[in-house]
C-alpha cells in the first residue's frame, strides 16, 4: 500500500498505455514555453550583472554587453555586504521554519486527528490571518514588538515571519496530510494503549516526515521572501536580509543595475539549490501521500 516498489520499466509500459501521444506532445509544448519564458529573466539578470560600471547606461540597450566583466561579482562581494545579508537571511528563514514546525506539527495533528472543539473554525481562522496584507499588519505589529523589546533583533523577525507567513501554511499542509492517514493504522496502535502524545511523535510524525519536509520548505521560502516586516524591523544593516539589502541599493541617486542584478542572482541561488537538492525528496514526499 505504501509505495509498493514496482520495476520502473513496468510503470513506463503501463503508463504509455494510459496516455496518448497527443497528450504528451501537448505537455512538452506547454512546459517548453513556460520554461523558456522563465529563463528570460534569469538570462537578463546574468547579462546585466556583467556590464562594466563605466558603460552601464549605453549597454542597457543591448541584450548582452560588448565586454562582459565577471569581476563585477568580486567588486560587488567586496564593496557591498552581500555575505552578511545572506547570513541574515539564512538565520531568519531557518529560525522561522524551525519555530513554525515545532508549533505547527502538534497543531496540525490536533486539527486532523483529535476531536478538538471548533476544529473547522480554528482551521478557518488560521487561513483568515492570510487575508490581511503584511504591509498593513506591520503598522500594529511594531507596537507588539516594541513592548516585547524585539524591534532590533532576529527574534522579532523570526517571531513575526513564523507567525504570519509560515505557521498557517504548515498547519494546513500537515493537517491535510494527517487526515488522510488511514484509521486502521491508528486503531492498531490504540490496542497497544499508546497516548495521543506518543501517537503523534511515534506514528504520525514519521509517516508525515516527507510532507513535513515539504511544509518546511514552504515556510523557509515564505520567510526568505518577506518584504514588509524586514523593511520595518530590520532597519540597521546588521539585521537586513538579502532581498531588503538589494532593495536598499535603489538609493536615492542613480541605480547601479549591474550590481543590483548580481546581488539578485545571489539572493535567488540558495532557493534554487534547495530545490535542486530536495527535488527528488520533495516529489517522493508528495508521492508518499498516495495512501488514502
Amino acid at each position: 500500500m505504501i509505495g509498493t516498489p514496482r520495476p520502473r520499466t513496468d510503470v513506463r509500459l503501463r503508463q504509455s498505455r494510459v496516455h496518448s501521444p497527443g497528450e504528451l506532445w501537448a505537455a512538452y509544448i506547454l512546459l517548453g514555453i513556460f520554461c523558456l519564458i522563465t529563463l528570460f529573466p534569469l538570462f537578463v539578470m546574468v547579462s546585466v550583472s556583467l556590464i562594466p560600471s563605466q558603460t552601464l547606461a549605453p549597454s542597457l540597450y543591448h541584450l548582452w554587453p560588448a565586454h562582459p566583466r565577471l569581476a563585477n561579482y568580486i567588486t560587488m562581494w567586496h564593496d557591498l555586504p552581500i555575505a552578511h545579508f545572506l547570513m541574515n537571511s539564512l538565520i531568519i528563514a531557518l529560525g522561522s521554519t524551525v519555530v513554525a514546525l515545532a508549533v505547527g506539527i502538534p497543531a496540525g495533528f490536533a486539527l486532523s486527528r483529535t476531536k478538538v472543539f471548533g476544529r473547522r473554525i480554528w482551521l478557518f481562522l488560521f487561513l483568515a490571518t492570510q487575508m490581511f496584507s503584511p504591509s498593513m499588519i506591520i503598522v500594529s505589529a511594531y507596537h507588539v514588538m516594541s513592548v516585547l523589546h524585539l524591534t532590533d533583533s532576529y527574534f522579532g523577525l523570526i517571531f513575526l515571519d513564523s507567525g504570519f507567513y509560515c505557521l498557517p501554511f504548515v498547519v494546513w499542509i500537515i493537517a491535510g496530510f494527517m487526515r488522510q492517514i488511514p484509521q486502521e493504522l491508528e486503531e492498531a496502535v490504540d490496542i497497544d494503549g499508546a497516548s495521543s502524545w506518543q501517537k503523534l511523535w511515534r506514528i504520525f510524525t514519521p509517516i508525515a516526515a516527507p510532507v513535513i519536509a515539504v511544509a518546511g520548505v514552504y515556510a523557509f521560502i515564505a520567510s526568505w521572501n518577506d518584504f514588509a516586516f524586514a523593511l520595518t524591523l530590520a532597519t540597521s544593516q546588521s539585521l537586513m536580509p538579502l532581498p531588503i539589502g538589494v532593495y536598499s541599493f535603489i538609493g536615492a541617486y542613480s541605480i547601479q543595475w549591474n550590481y543590483l542584478m548580481g546581488a539578485s542572482l545571489v539572493a535567488t541561488i540558495p532557493i534554487l539549490v534547495l530545490f535542486l537538492v530536495l527535488q527528488r525528496r520533495l516529489t517522493s514526499g508528495i508521492m508518499a501521500g498516495t495512501i488514502r
Binding site: 563605466q54 558603460t55 552601464l56 547606461a57 549605453p58 542597457l60 540597450y61 564593496d79 557591498l80 555586504p81 506591520i138 503598522v139 511594531y142 507596537h143 514588538m145 516594541s146 524591534t151 532590533d152 523593511l231 520595518t232 532597519t235 540597521s236 544593516q237 531588503i244 532593495y247 536598499s248 541599493f249 535603489i250 538609493g251 536615492a252 541617486y253 542613480s254 541605480i255 543595475w257
Partner: protein
C-alpha cells in the same frame, strides 16, 4: 578679574562634575541615518566610531535606514514610543514632527560663531516658523544639464533662457537628431518637484499663506505648456513611466538633450564621454529666475540625552565629516569651511552648482502636511500628462486637497 575667575572656576566645576557623572553613567544615543547610497552603510557607523573615540562616555547606536522606507520607519518608531535621539530626516517631514512637539529647537545650543559657519541660504532652508529646528545637510541645487553634442547637431548655440525657448530647442533636437529633447519626470514621488521647476518659471506658487494655489492661472499655463511639449515630441516618450533615477542613465548615454538634475548626473555623463554644459533653470520673461534647491535636516528629538546628542550633532558638522559626506554622495557643501576646499571649487560637477548657490535659490516651502501637498500635485500632474484630465480640471481637483492638507 576675581569675578571672571570665579565664573571660570564655576564653569570648570560644572564641566568636571557633568563629565564625572557621565563617566559613571555612559550614555547611549540612537542615530537614525538615511541611506543616501550603499556607501552610507559604511561611513555613518565610521563617523560614530570616531565620535566615540573622542567622547568615551557616549555610545552611538547607528541605524542606516533606506530612504524609501525612512518616514515609515521613523513614524513606527515614534508611534511605538521609541524615537531616536538624533536623526536625518527629509525637510518635508520636519513641520509635522515639530507640530507634534517631538523636535528639540536648537536655538539655545547654537552659538553665533557656529551658525556663521553655515551658508545662510542653507541654514534658513531648514527653519520652520522662523525657528532653527535642524541643521542643513545634503544640499543639492538643481540645474539644467544639456548635451553639447545634440545641441551642436541641432544647430543650437547655447542653453535656453526661457521655457518657450527650451520648448523650441527640445523640438528641434528631436526633429534633427531623432533623440529626445527634454527629460520630464512623470512617475512617482518626484513628479511634483519636476513640475514645479516649470511652474516656478511661469511665476506660479504652491501656496499663498495657508491656502493652496494649485489652479492659479500661472499654474495652469505651466501644466498646459508641459502637456503641449509632450504632444509635440519635445520630451522623451512615455513620460508617465519615467522616474528621475530611471531617466539618468538615458541622459548619461547621450539620448536626451536636456535634463534638470543635481550634481551627481555630471560624472555619470562624463564617464560615458558625453560633453555637457550646466546652466541656470529657464524662466519666462518677467519672472525672476531662481534655481530650486533641496536640503535634508539633521534633527534632535526631545528627550533626556540632549547634551550628548548636541555633542554628536556638533561632531557631525565638523569640516572632515562634512567634506567626506559631500564627496561620497555628490552633495553640495552646506558649510563655508568645506565649501572653500579646492575639491569643490575646481571640480567640473560642483563648481557650477556652487556658483548657483551664491545666486538666487528657491526651496520648497517648509509647512506641515507637505507630503500630502506633493502627493496631490503628483496625482494631478500625472493625470494631465497621461491625458486622463485637462490641465485645468486636474489642477482644479488638486487645489482643495492642497488646501485641506495645509490645514491639517
Amino acid at each position: 578679574m576675581a569675578a571672571g575667575l570665579a565664573v571660570m572656576l564655576a564653569g570648570c566645576g560644572t564641566a568636571a562634575s557633568t563629565s564625572a557623572s557621565a563617566k559613571n553613567h555612559p550614555v547611549t544615543i540612537t542615530f537614525d541615518a538615511m541611506e543616501y547610497s550603499a556607501a552610507a552603510n559604511k561611513f555613518f557607523p565610521k563617523f560614530a566610531q570616531e565620535f566615540e573615540k573622542l567622547h568615551p562616555n557616549i555610545k552611538v547606536k547607528v541605524r542606516v535606514i533606506n530612504w524609501a522606507a525612512g518616514q515609515q520607519v521613523l513614524n513606527t518608531e515614534i508611534g511605538g514610543g521609541n524615537p531616536p535621539d538624533v536623526a536625518i530626516i527629509g525637510t518635508r517631514w520636519l513641520p509635522g514632527y515639530v507640530k507634534d512637539g517631538l523636535i528639540q529647537p536648537l536655538t539655545s545650543f547654537m552659538t553665533p560663531s557656529f551658525a556663521h559657519e553655515f551658508y545662510s541660504a542653507a541654514l534658513n532652508s531648514v527653519k520652520y516658523n522662523g525657528v532653527q529646528y535642524s541643521l542643513p545637510e545634503a544640499m543639492s541645487v538643481r540645474l539644467l544639464i544639456y548635451n553639447k553634442n545634440l545641441f551642436k547637431k541641432a544647430g543650437i548655440a547655447g542653453p535656453p533662457k526661457t521655457w518657450t525657448q527650451l520648448a523650441a530647442d527640445a523640438i528641434a533636437i528631436h526633429k534633427k537628431t531623432g533623440q529626445s529633447g527634454y527629460a520630464l519626470v512623470g512617475s512617482q514621488v518626484e513628479t511634483s518637484l519636476d513640475y514645479w521647476y516649470t511652474m516656478w518659471g511661469f511665476g506660479g506658487n504652491i501656496l499663498k499663506g495657508t491656502k493652496g494655489t494649485a489652479n492659479s492661472p500661472a499654474d495652469v499655463k505651466a501644466l498646459q505648456f508641459l502637456v503641449n511639449l509632450i504632444h509635440s515630441g519635445g520630451t522623451q516618450p512615455s513620460v508617465t513611466a519615467s522616474t528621475r533615477s530611471g531617466l539618468e542613465p538615458v541622459f548619461a548615454s547621450g539620448k536626451i538633450g536636456m535634463m534638470i538634475d543635481g550634481p551627481w548626473l555630471v560624472p555619470l555623463a562624463l564617464a560615458n564621454k558625453i560633453p555637457i554644459g550646466v546652466a541656470n533653470i529657464p524662466s519666462q520673461p518677467g519672472v525672476a529666475a531662481a534655481n530650486p534647491a533641496i536640503t535634508d535636516s539633521f534633527v534632535m528629538f526631545k528627550n533626556s540625552h540632549e547634551k550628548a546628542s548636541w555633542e554628536f550633532a556638533k561632531f557631525m558638522f565638523t569640516k572632515s565629516v562634512r567634506a567626506y559626506f559631500d564627496k561620497a554622495e555628490g552633495m553640495l557643501p552646506t558649510m563655508s569651511l568645506d565649501g572653500s576646499e579646492p575639491y569643490f571649487r575646481n571640480s567640473p560637477e560642483f563648481s557650477p552648482y556652487l556658483k548657483a548657490l551664491a545666486g538666487s535659490t528657491r526651496f520648497e516651502p517648509v509647512v506641515p502636511g507637505f507630503q500630502s501637498v506633493s502627493l496631490a500635485y503628483t496625482n494631478a500632474v500625472e493625470a494631465a500628462y497621461s491625458g486622463a484630465l485637462s490641465p485645468q480640471a486636474a489642477l482644479n481637483q488638486a487645489e482643495p486637497k492642497v488646501t485641506a492638507a495645509l490645514k491639517k
